[in-house]
Symmetry: D2
Subunit: 360 residues, 4 copies
């Protein structure tokens, strides 16, 4: 019953096989190989436009480099106040962007709202030298609350940003999970909705270590190769990034893996919601489930072997906030989550003894 | 006949198998896994002292982060004028070290000499505010010229550095190749010879993407976890770094792989040296061979399918420098280099037609 | 009726004379002069402890360098959400501190409260690598709202910071104004209340361009000379900074100048408060007056020649916030503000025509 | 006999009076004042083209900010190996330019030569990602050796730079001294000879603390106001920079001050050259005199009260290098140097006892 993190999963077999296969040849170094070239071409197909795409090994790098390409050091980057880039990357965006300022915006369910964005932008008047300049907007898709921006929500926020001369980044560490949830095409969810640069995660969804930074306007990527290199993010055996991304996108693997994780999350969400005393904090729209539950119940889950994280947030409507005696917890599913793990936790919820797992 | 780069090789089977095996479990994220713990413990054993070791995916990151841990932003880092950190990392050390200044020191065969180091240090007087401060010394082992510092050479340079309050880094992108060449133990070659922090490369020598930053005084690593994280170099599925390094060090695999590459280089070196008109630029002490050869001869090699790089250097004694009509070239071997590749190039040298490879 | 900024004032005659006098000699460059030495000694006397003090020409530099000396690049700096360092320095602290993250804390009247500080610190758990680390607390004294922290307020906030291993900076751009208002000694207001490093402003209060960075624990200043130099803030003719600071502190000049500005602010505050429809936003405790006033009345003031700034803030209790038809404005006094300017604005408030100034 | 530094001088009376005069008014803050506007307009007149000019208080800031505006963080900046920006600013250019790499070029008499520049540029191939990119060329005028580039020398170097897509900076800390020496117009010496951005020093030549960063193509200055602000180099009472620069340029004051210093240097140079055993290291073309002299003679000078610096350099032809028993020394004159100081040193050289100064 491992619901601690989708980073705990291994590598999808198709991707592992692609790595092994690409290891059998001698390939040019530093990304000049054919695997990378094919992955890049595939990304242009997937997004139905000519993109400039660069592969790196971590989501932190992908986000920080993408933002560094988008903004100046004297700029502000607007994001949700609990965005991963703001709270969970130890200042990596500030480091790569030369000291740019991340500005958090409050919003329920991990989402920035148009009024919240507009009010915040107003505090950073363009051309006023004492002020950090409005430089970038970063949207997390799926959000830190496991919710998914609808296409029209992305469009509206992007439009506000663009009207104010602000470039738009999407942190898609869980982009595939959001995509299959939104029932929209990759193009619709991104550049057609105003996204300028996307961090497309693969690691949490089945890769070993691979993320793509996708520029929908290749001109924005002019200096990216230098920025990536001096960030230490140009792999010498770059073909292994190419091979992962190629396999990830081949035959819809990425969508199948994401749908599997999402389906597990929906089942888990239903099981927990049906448990007396347990309330969903936010709707389960991707592969994360957040519930407020009585502390003793959570202890029972843990005693039965469930791994999950206590959660704190400022992004919760008062009526959904944990009350006295309750705890907010996060449960994450992955492409590897087994039906049996969910059944077992459901059994614990239903009072089936932990020592007798529902499925062996 | 691929002698272009040791980065062109794939992954050693033992390491690929370790990756696949570690993929089968659910493991804690961000390096808190048992594979990483075992790799770290193994590094302490290998170096016969308690080290603080951190794994990253690229040599650029390992070097830049190691230097950033060693020096202040207002410091100078002394290195050979053709050191990889100075010439080939697009300013990564400067980026990570907050704008520290790399100062190149001339020296034949890629080596810094004690007088060269002392004269250079004198130009950076400690405590004189207008001057960058003497902060770090970086030695490449093996060097960019394919030579290997002897233990006593390392000791002498380190002693000069330490007397001047300067920490010492070793760029061991090809550390294993140097080690088996030097016929000394890992401890003798490093901390016993005054090295404070080592970049221990595995990628060029059989890993997929894995390097260790090894601090011989763990106190120096106090902030390294934060520096690595904000550099985007903390892999979410960190167990794959741990698994690589564990397999690399297990049962002397790293030494066998390095010896295989070095042996190929020696054979190649002998074959080329025996060819009329070809002169070795520097002794072949690791897995790189540098020769000055008549341009038409090099063209013959290339026409026969040999992949190699033309080389420019300021690190060559005049008597060994390419003369009119000659070209300096670099040939690199790896653990994957086949005897047949060397035989075939030897055959080309000996006038055997390229269309008839010596070994099928 | 110039109430736009205390930066509009000239130089106090005593300081201008000190500049002229120090110009008549040939003095060692870069701060090795006797004027600077005397100013430093005087600062130790004024603060009743041996301080390490460095002079620079701007408040932005003083703040940014002080913070850079206090925190690591991977740290968070806690400050009021409307602190000058956060809102008005174009990211200078982030630049100098290598990308550290400024974290704003809400609080009425420009002040951080103990609960606000504690809740914020909790969001940055020490040792958790994904999180920026709790590094610094910066208190503005006087605040951006023209209020002054009481000594016990400073002590309580500093104690919370220190308990959490956090260093404490005071942005004293208007330190003298706060000091004469608080009726405490320089020592009581700073290091005895837990301040580790103070930006002591002189420019707004009568200097040409001079601020001191004062370290109460000289060990913290170990590298400051290098940081200042590479920031370009070491003046070649450093004696002119020394001469300004020496004159500023001589015979209590700084306190007299500040008291003059504060007294003007109090008079102005009384005159405005007495005007029907005008409400003080916050108590007038230093040399800034903030009032909510009917827009037509503000227009009358401006038409009469008053220079002042419209103000926006999130630091205002709802009952004091501007209502429909009102505007929040800031009026600043300086040591040069004339009684006649205040009388004249008071006259305008009282309906005396602007074309007939109350005092000629 | 103060020949230690031109930074030891005070402020020229005309400039001090301008400061005092501008102090008598209330002026807009942060450079929005009329003094600054007039200084900027005057700079456009002086250079016979519309320039974008920004004033700062130090030469370190002017140089570092100018370079940061010219190059990317992943670029190399080419300069003489003993350039002030490389050797004497504690890494300020690296700090402001985000970690750009300064690359020193050897050259006699402090000058870069066309072959030296071309060979160096070749080591930084454009578009090759592992390499720092060719970004900027910085010429010191006058040089660190007290020599002056002729207009055609500047033109030739600039042309090489521009052909390679490299912007050209001139470090004119002693620009006025070079200008009156070169007998060319400001325009001829700068933008007509290919300079893109000039650091125009005033401090060493009579100002209190004032340097201008002059962009000959205003488009290059697009972000400069932000870069200056976050560097802490936007003075709140900016009118004092404006007043200094306005007075400096008024009625040719800057040229008269520089000619006075240069004339003193020529006299000093003649007196020293005529002394047996003393040899000029480089021609005296601005306000610095470098001589190799017998150590006992230098001791005599010092005993007589002469203040001067021992010098070390790699920029000296072998025939001019100090021999055994000799010392290389630098003597600097300023606009304040008195004829009597030179006469007195000349007297010491001629054997007149130090206790009886030639002029009282």
């Amino acid at each position: 019953m491992n619901f601690a993190s989708d980073n705990g999963a291994g590598v999808a077999p198709e991707i592992l096989e692609a790595i092994a296969a690409s290891s059998r040849v001698n390939a040019p170094a530093y990304g000049a190989d054919e695997y990378t070239a094919r992955a890049q071409a595939r990304l242009s197909e997937v997004f139905e436009t000519k993109v400039a795409a660069y592969l790196v090994a971590t989501g932190t790098a992908a986000n920080a480099l993408a933002l560094a390409a988008l903004v100046n050091p004297w700029d502000a980057v607007f994001c949700h106040e609990e965005a991963h880039i703001h709270d969970d990357e130890c200042g990596a965006p500030e480091f790569f962007a030369g000291g740019a300022k991340l500005v958090g915006i409050a919003g329920e369910g991990g989402k920035i709202t148009p009024p919240g964005l507009m009010e915040t932008i107003e505090r950073f008047p363009r051309g006023v030298v004492r002020s950090s300049q409005p430089g970038g907007l970063s949207l997390s898709q799926a959000t830190e609350a496991g919710t998914v921006y609808r296409v029209d929500e992305v469009s509206e926020l992007s439009a506000i940003a663009h009207r104010n001369g602000i470039g738009v980044h999407m942190d898609g560490a869980r982009f595939a999970n959001a995509l299959v949830s939104a029932k929209a095409t990759p193009a619709e969810t991104t550049w057609r909705a105003g996204i300028d640069v996307l961090t497309l995660g693969a690691t949490k969804n089945g890769a070993l270590a691979c993320e793509a930074v996708v520029f929908f306007d290749p001109a924005r990527a002019e200096n990216f190769a230098f920025q990536r290199k001096r960030g230490g993010h140009t792999l010498s055996k770059g073909r292994f990034l190419g091979a992962q991304m190629e396999a990830y996108l081949a035959d819809g693997l990425w969508l199948r893996l994401a749908e599997r994780a999402n389906a597990s999350a929906r089942r888990l969400s239903r099981a927990l919601s049906a448990t007396p005393g347990v309330r969903l904090a936010w709707p389960t729209e991707a592969n994360e489930v957040f519930v407020a539950a009585p502390i003793p119940l959570v202890e029972t889950w843990r005693a039965a072997g469930a791994r999950l994280h206590e959660w704190t947030t400022r992004s919760l409507a008062p009526e959904n906030a944990p009350r006295k005696g309750e705890m907010l917890v996060r449960l994450v599913t992955s492409f590897e989550t087994e039906q049996s793990e969910i059944d077992r936790l459901a059994g614990v919820c239903a009072g089936v003894p932990a020592s007798a797992p529902a499925t062996p």
